[in-house]
């Protein structure tokens, strides 16, 4: 080998803020944000610009697997979009040698009205397969998806979201590109299927295909890629061995803090059903929200806007991760929903979740937040790695580990009820 598969040279991508929203009627019909938009328009004298990518250069030898990591908005997805020709760079150039397939979502091209079988054809064609190629691989795709043949003639709108994901990935897994660009597709599906997907990507990498893999899942990046590029604010921060890049990323925090606020709703993650307003960490009893003692309880407060669609009752979900990318647990504000059921018009909802003291493990905790509806299952607003804070264990005999000063493993460190008793030793012992 030794050939170059991808060569990027000074890639830059400039966006004008609000460019698309000012002129499109997309959001105009949106009752919830109409008032806010009008106010915005009056101040929209100056056109704000920002560079989603700035002077990005790298080379990927053919057969390599390279991970792209970085915070939200660091330019990872933009880079992938430029490389897959969905959008044009503003400056610089990139050359890709070989047949390229990009997987920016699972189930690209699916049409809800069409059956599973029909969608296999459609999605495969959209992803660049030829007709005869699809026919040849059809059985394999169906088998990989694990979808029962009797469901193949059912419209996918009646599929569970898990089934849709499985079908979508099954199609994608059978592409045979020389260069594969993948974005976050593993963030979906159940653990078993995720493992299957990872295995398949590993397999693809092993057959000498070039893989570019964007993910927030550090353990997946570590497993699949020997090299990683760390982006921040559109620029390359590090380009080197994966463990090195991951370490730099996790240690630097890259701007992650214990509080996020979206001052401008138009820029906040969300849609007409729900939009994020803020999320923050509040240590119960005061103290620094960045560094919290393990025995202290913590409130996580989320604020979000809800739209006018009453039938869709959104709920806030929090997913807790450690700095190895392991999901510790997920929780949502379903219990407190009675307050929402009575509401008819748009509302600002504030939900607070209390995490007891002596529960999280020592180390960095990263929280992703989403506002979703369950029927249909849709994440309306999603911010990955929204906030982060540090848990420190300063307990002295009154914590979970007692008087131990050794390493204390585990992804959580809950204080559990132990029942302990001691008795005399008798002759039967």
């Amino acid at each position: 080998m030794g050939d170059v598969a991808i060569r990027a040279d000074g890639l830059g991508k400039r966006y004008r803020l609000g460019q698309n929203r000012e002129t499109s009627g997309l959001l105009l019909s949106d009752t919830l944000f109409r008032a806010l938009r009008l106010r915005r328009r009056r101040t929209a004298g100056e056109v704000a610009e920002f560079w989603a990518l700035r002077d990005v250069s790298f080379e990927v030898p053919s057969g390599a697997a390279v991970g792209i990591i970085g915070r939200n908005g660091a330019g990872k997805s933009t880079l992938l979009k430029v490389l897959s020709r969905i959008t044009e760079p503003t400056t610089g150039k990139a050359t890709l040698y070989g047949r390229v397939a990009s997987l920016l979502e699972v189930g690209t091209g699916f049409h809800p009205e069409l059956s599973g079988l029909e969608n296999i054809y459609l999605s495969a064609a959209v992803l660049g397969m030829r007709r005869d190629e699809i026919r040849r691989k059809l059985d394999e795709i169906v088998e990989f998806s694990g979808i029962e043949p009797k469901f193949l003639d059912t419209p996918v709108k009646r599929y569970s979201s898990g089934m849709q994901v499985r079908l979508g990935f099954a199609v994608a897994a059978h592409l045979e590109p020389e260069i594969l660009l993948i974005d976050e597709v593993l963030a979906v599906g159940d653990a078993k299927f995720q493992a299957k997907c990872l295995g398949k990507i590993e397999e693809i990498g092993a057959t000498g295909r070039t893989v570019i893999f964007v993910s927030h899942n550090m353990s997946a990046i570590l497993r699949l890629c020997s090299r990683a590029i760390l982006l921040d604010h559109g620029r390359v921060v590090t380009d080197g061995p994966t463990h090195e890049a991951v370490r730099i990323y996790l240690e630097s925090d890259l701007g992650r803090s214990s509080e996020r606020r979206w001052a401008d709703p138009a820029q906040a993650p969300g849609d007409e059903v729900a939009r994020l307003k803020s999320i923050r960490v509040l240590p119960v009893g005061g103290g620094s929200p960045e560094e919290i003692e393990i025995r202290q309880a913590i409130d996580i407060e989320v604020e979000y806007w809800t739209g006018t669609l009453r039938s869709l009752r959104p709920s806030a979900n929090l997913a807790f991760y450690n700095d190895e990318g392991v999901c510790l647990f997920i929780t949502n504000d379903w219990q407190g929903r009675d307050a929402l059921d009575a509401a008819t018009g748009p509302r600002i909802v504030r939900s607070t979740c209390r995490i007891p003291g002596n529960f999280l493990a020592e180390g960095r905790v990263i929280i992703s937040v989403a506002v979703s509806t369950f029927n249909p299952a849709t994440a309306h607003a999603l911010e990955r790695d929204a906030i982060a804070f540090q848990i420190v264990d300063r307990s002295q005999g009154d914590g979970v580990r007692g008087e131990s000063t050794n390493e204390w493993g585990g992804v959580v460190r809950p204080m559990l009820d132990w029942h302990t008793e001691a008795r005399e030793i008798t002759s039967q012992d």
Partner: protein, 267 residues
């Protein structure tokens, strides 16, 4: 090779050809989706022109001089409606094609021109069904088309090209200005009155005929009727309309190719 493109670029025919399988599946998808969960399925392709023909006949058929004296008005109307519906539905589909496929545009690369092309393509199938009915109606009225009937495909093609010509413009503009959602149906409605579908072009004063024929559909409808029902060949209308179509199509494709690089960022 990916780099910022500048200025005007060609239509990219070769690339479109490479992606022909995707084009096929997009047409196939549109057809499948259109007639899924409908009671009459493809019969709708027939119902629409026939119903309009009945409406036109009931209300306009009795107006003296609206059609030529030697052709029964219902047949005259249907012979205009069949190509008109091919045009109007193709135009509508092509204009909406980009916005209705936003999820594709922002997630995967392919030549964007495939979308308006596929939008037009799926209505050609409907046209063939309607055409079969039109031929039956013609025979029922006791008229045997002459050798001129061989020209029918030419005018059908012209109707498709006209829809594509205007559709490339509108689809690209629609990405940016969503006002078109309301403007397109209105435009098509007005266009119907500016086209000799319900009435004969002879009603237009002779000195205005040249300008009138710059409407790409004027020549198509007149030519289509001539091919099916005979009479003097409307040479001027055909040439003017074809020329107008060619100009709009060239401009539309050039404009489309120029702005398509911003679609993914705008949509």
């Amino acid at each position: 090779m990916i780099r910022p493109s500048r200025g005007w670029i060609g239509p990219g025919i070769r690339e479109l050809w490479q992606y022909r399988d995707l084009g096929y599946f997009l047409v196939w998808r549109d057809l499948k989706v259109r007639y899924k969960q409908t009671l009459f399925g493809a019969a709708w392709a027939v119902v629409q022109p026939v119903l309009l023909m009945l409406v036109f006949s009931a209300f306009l058929g009795r107006v003296a001089g609206i059609g030529p004296p030697d052709v029964p008005y219902p047949l005259f109307a249907l012979a205009g409606l069949v190509p008109w519906i091919l045009f109007s539905q193709s135009l509508n589909a092509a204009s909406n094609s980009l916005v209705s496929s936003q999820n594709l545009i922002s997630k995967v690369y392919f030549p964007r021109l495939l979308l308006p092309l596929a939008g037009v393509g799926s209505h050609i199938v409907d046209f063939f069904i309607a055409l079969a009915v039109l031929l039956v109606v013609t025979l029922t009225f006791g008229r045997i088309p002459g050798a001129t009937v061989l020209w029918l495909p030419v005018f059908a093609l012209l109707a498709v090209l006209a829809a594509l010509a205007v559709g490339t413009w509108l689809s690209a503009i629609y990405v940016r200005y969503r006002d078109l959602r309301y403007a397109i149906p209105f435009l098509i409605q007005v266009w119907l009155f500016a086209t000799p579908v319900a009435y004969s072009a002879n009603l237009v004063p002779a000195e205005w005929r040249g300008i009138y024929a710059l409407n790409p559909m004027a020549g198509v409808i007149e030519g289509f009727r001539w091919a099916l029902l005979g009479g003097p060949r409307p040479d001027q209308a055909i040439v003017f309309s074809a020329a107008a179509t060619l100009v709009i199509l060239t401009g539309g494709v050039a404009y489309f190719r120029r702005v398509e690089r911003t679609f993914a960022d705008m949509i």
